[in-house]
Symmetry: C3
Subunit: 449 residues, 3 copies
Amino acid sequence: MHALITDLFPICRSITGDGFRASLRRLSEVVPITLNEVPTGTQVFDWTVPKEWNIRDAWIADADGRRWVDFHDSNLHVVNYSIPVRTRMSLADLKGHLHTLPGQPDLIPYRTSYYAEDWGFCLSQRTLDQLPDGEYEVCIDSTLVPGHLTYGECLLPGSVADEILISVHSCHPSLANDNLSGMAVAAFLARHLSDHPRRHTFRFLFIPGTIGSITWLALHEAETRKIRHGLVLSCLGDPGPLTYKRSRRGTAAIDRAATHVLKEQGAHAIRDFVPYGYDERQYCSPGFDLPVGCLMRTPNGEFPEYHTSADNLDFVRSESLEHSLRQTLAIIEILEYDELYVNLNPKCEPQLGRRGLYDSKGGTAPPDFQMAMLWVLNLSDGHHRLIDIAERAALPFVTVRDAAQALRDVGLLGVVEESKTERSAVPVRSQFTRSVPPSPALKPSRATS
Amino acid sequence: MHALITDLFPICRSITGDGFRASLRRLSEVVPITLNEVPTGTQVFDWTVPKEWNIRDAWIADADGRRWVDFHDSNLHVVNYSIPVRTRMSLADLKGHLHTLPGQPDLIPYRTSYYAEDWGFCLSQRTLDQLPDGEYEVCIDSTLVPGHLTYGECLLPGSVADEILISVHSCHPSLANDNLSGMAVAAFLARHLSDHPRRHTFRFLFIPGTIGSITWLALHEAETRKIRHGLVLSCLGDPGPLTYKRSRRGTAAIDRAATHVLKEQGAHAIRDFVPYGYDERQYCSPGFDLPVGCLMRTPNGEFPEYHTSADNLDFVRSESLEHSLRQTLAIIEILEYDELYVNLNPKCEPQLGRRGLYDSKGGTAPPDFQMAMLWVLNLSDGHHRLIDIAERAALPFVTVRDAAQALRDVGLLGVVEESKTERSAVPVRSQFTRSVPPSPALKPSRATS
Amino acid sequence: MHALITDLFPICRSITGDGFRASLRRLSEVVPITLNEVPTGTQVFDWTVPKEWNIRDAWIADADGRRWVDFHDSNLHVVNYSIPVRTRMSLADLKGHLHTLPGQPDLIPYRTSYYAEDWGFCLSQRTLDQLPDGEYEVCIDSTLVPGHLTYGECLLPGSVADEILISVHSCHPSLANDNLSGMAVAAFLARHLSDHPRRHTFRFLFIPGTIGSITWLALHEAETRKIRHGLVLSCLGDPGPLTYKRSRRGTAAIDRAATHVLKEQGAHAIRDFVPYGYDERQYCSPGFDLPVGCLMRTPNGEFPEYHTSADNLDFVRSESLEHSLRQTLAIIEILEYDELYVNLNPKCEPQLGRRGLYDSKGGTAPPDFQMAMLWVLNLSDGHHRLIDIAERAALPFVTVRDAAQALRDVGLLGVVEESKTERSAVPVRSQFTRSVPPSPALKPSRATS
């Protein structure tokens, strides 16, 4: 995944334009992604798809022709969505268009001006302080004209039409953690899932932040009803522990699955929904209120490298990316395997011993797998799903799931069919929920790119 | 307020009588208060309005005529509601009628005997210990005869008939914190509210403890249905932090408003309802179960000066009284401004930037006011009132209220009309909930008396 | 009780057989117990009543005839339910049938093989290590043939048919705490209750673990509907603090009563239900979900003596047994006296003073009994039972119960009749809930046996 990020890093992305398209094409080498184009001016709820922005060059030169700021050094140097400029001005006038981080004097900030036509440069405070008085030549060789907003989509059909949505904002320029890390994890997750049987249908969206999710929701309102669970992936490459931000609902299945996995894997943070952050803001707006949470390592704004030139290739780590992918898969595995079972022998315990499921020698406490069977039998009353049982029993979901499968295999457990959206009459699903533990199948392949 | 308390302090109040009437007349100089008279013998639920008690003098003199205890030194010296006495008796017999505080030997206790005809004196243990043996002459020049129970009322009509009740027991004699402080805060609160537009109708009751609230409830049972919120005010002048005792319901709007304000203002305590304390006992009896809480500083029985001669003018402080008044107003402000709004653009976020409500430069976290708008938009789904949103967002109510007003001004928010008791067809209320922040209007005027 | 346990200790009990019957006969000297016999082969839900097991002798002797292991030293030496054996074998072969506790080398473990026909011996690791090489003669003089499963029952009718179930597993051989302690407490509890008026009907079951409760439930399914509350008693003689394991429901009346009593009496632990432990596993299976909790001191598996020869007569203590009995009675007392009352004077407080229930001198805080009356009056709105009120008021149940009785005696409180199963038209119950505190009547008599 780190190699993929290295390839994507230099591209100047924005919420529209060729940099976004080029990035999607590179991701398509990992897993096939469809590019969709929405014309400028399309009305999407309260918003309008903006003009398309492209940029080729930008610089600030002094009277001697020395280039103090150059787009080719870092695409963060230009305020994203700057209109074209070619002029001369005094340092005093120029300063009104310059952005720095006085508290982090060596770093270039990341700034945008998507919805107010303006131009500007970002540079380090150190550079600003060195600028000699005098006149400067300023060039931004950009275009901002009617065109399209582009987004990428990867749809992986499952045995049911119920969908799991994975959404990643893919519009930031040279910022590695925010959000090349999310793009890489999503692409490799999609590749892995495409190679394995799936119960749910998976929809991956690679979209520009805010306007992208608003556009997709506005143009696919009917399809949103199929979304059963969703995850926004972002900032998954830094060395911090995982953070899960709950959906607006707070107790949706995705919230419980993510909480279960994060608890199992060690240090972590669980946060309540707030209407700020990434595209979960749109998915969780009250008119949709979709069960979409957000998985991150260190959240937006909480690492000093955030939205600066220090969010670079050194900041994201292979082991963090791999770990993020594994835990995302573990969350998905719960969503895939969670079921509502009923104990078919609900009066007293069944005699597990004669079915070979319980030690015949009495007198000692049972191991986890046997305890998991007792829990599944006791709580499978039509009101507790496997995730409920795992939480109540304080056992790993996989242990509870395997215990349920063993009980199902000997006819002690029946599944309550819930989904109304089966895609075929063929019981592909029972094939999927076979007793062979599916963990190896879902184990992520080693990431290579 | 302290000057008002200083004037009221020497008056010998009781649950009936001229001292109570004189106190109401003094309060009427701050805000007009109507005096109501209920005849002795009136049946009020399980109780009967008692005979009226008045007292002119009382003393204990030894054989030499030396007055060891004199009502004119402190009206606490007489057990409140003592029947008239004029007799001679030995020290041994007299002691059966004397009350002291052995653990606080310099203080005079406060004792009453409203419902059992009896007499007695309260004095310091120090004085008791000095009484020489011998015969004593005892005089209580009181009357206990059919008359009236008096209570004061101040009704401030609002734009709706829904009422906020403010109830203060006003029957204690020379005890400054319990409850001249509550009487003073209530009077100045009423004066302030009388000068400003009001949504709710405000009803202030200055009543004798227990029998007063029982009498009012018994005689105004139908009117209790208009009470939407209520506060008992007591012990608001001591130097301790504020304490709010929840209504019996525990989660009423008054409970949440008071909790919000107390959290915002610093050190405080929130307590669950208990059926002991002040008149909230009656308002919260199960047959009424009104949403009435109690605001205090240090609660009854928890300061050593409680119900002793040490609860005097030195014990109550101007800054405590002023602070209590300000916080009471802040609680009322929440009740006045709390609304149920609906987001009129519920699908995705509206574009606040083009309405001038959001910074056009992207890349940094929004300030509180913008966060408050995002919260209001996200949670205004018909299930969350402004106070809910303020609590969920951990933002001050005023910030959330102002954000809601800004959104309402640009047509993004609609108000859910709830009240069935509009007093007039004229939309006075929309005038009240104008976008101008009402804080200054509700800011307490400097207390002078 | 300790004397009773001393008598029972040497008897070799199992889930069937004459040792079980002999134990019930000894318990019958404390309180009459009916013996019930269920034939081998009876189908009980998913299980079958097993063959009856009896044993007379068992030993392991070396070639010199020296008996290294002898059943008459400790009946734990034989794996419970061992089939008859009389053979010679090498030490190596013999070891496949030997069970020790290497971590507790001086103790004999307790092992069973009820449902897999097998045989074996349990011995200390110390003895095993001393066994010389060579051939051994092995004898288990047991029978495992069709017969009966025995259980004991003691039914104490109350004024209502609603039942409180007390269940004790009585199948373990020479293990004093697990569960001769439970058997002794149950027998003395039954004897005590048999001497006093009862509201509920009490059903005591002395049963073999697991198969016993399954058998009783299968054969008395209709009767289970009468069970309103239930307790499994086990491990009640060790020196540890009391532990209550909640029923599956978690908030049943028995759970709240037990929690209340355990909090009142000092150090304790409250645990959530888990589907492992004693016969609550069966009572709380989802097809029954009876409100049955489990009262223990140190739980199964958590004391080092558990299921070893160290769980002997020295391990159980008279004071622990007595304390367990007293607290069990206190729990039952709550179940017996808990009522749903309604305040017949719900508007404002009634005037308790003129009924002699409240101090006529005002000015000081009321004592617990008066506070309890205020609480009962305030919360008796048809939604709060006495146990709710005691919990909310943080007062002992007995204080609240006595306060309710006092209020009932003066006509301020009415009882809401809930039970549909009155056994007689005679108001025996009002006789039971008389105002005389029933505590002395329910106080356990000194245990003697």
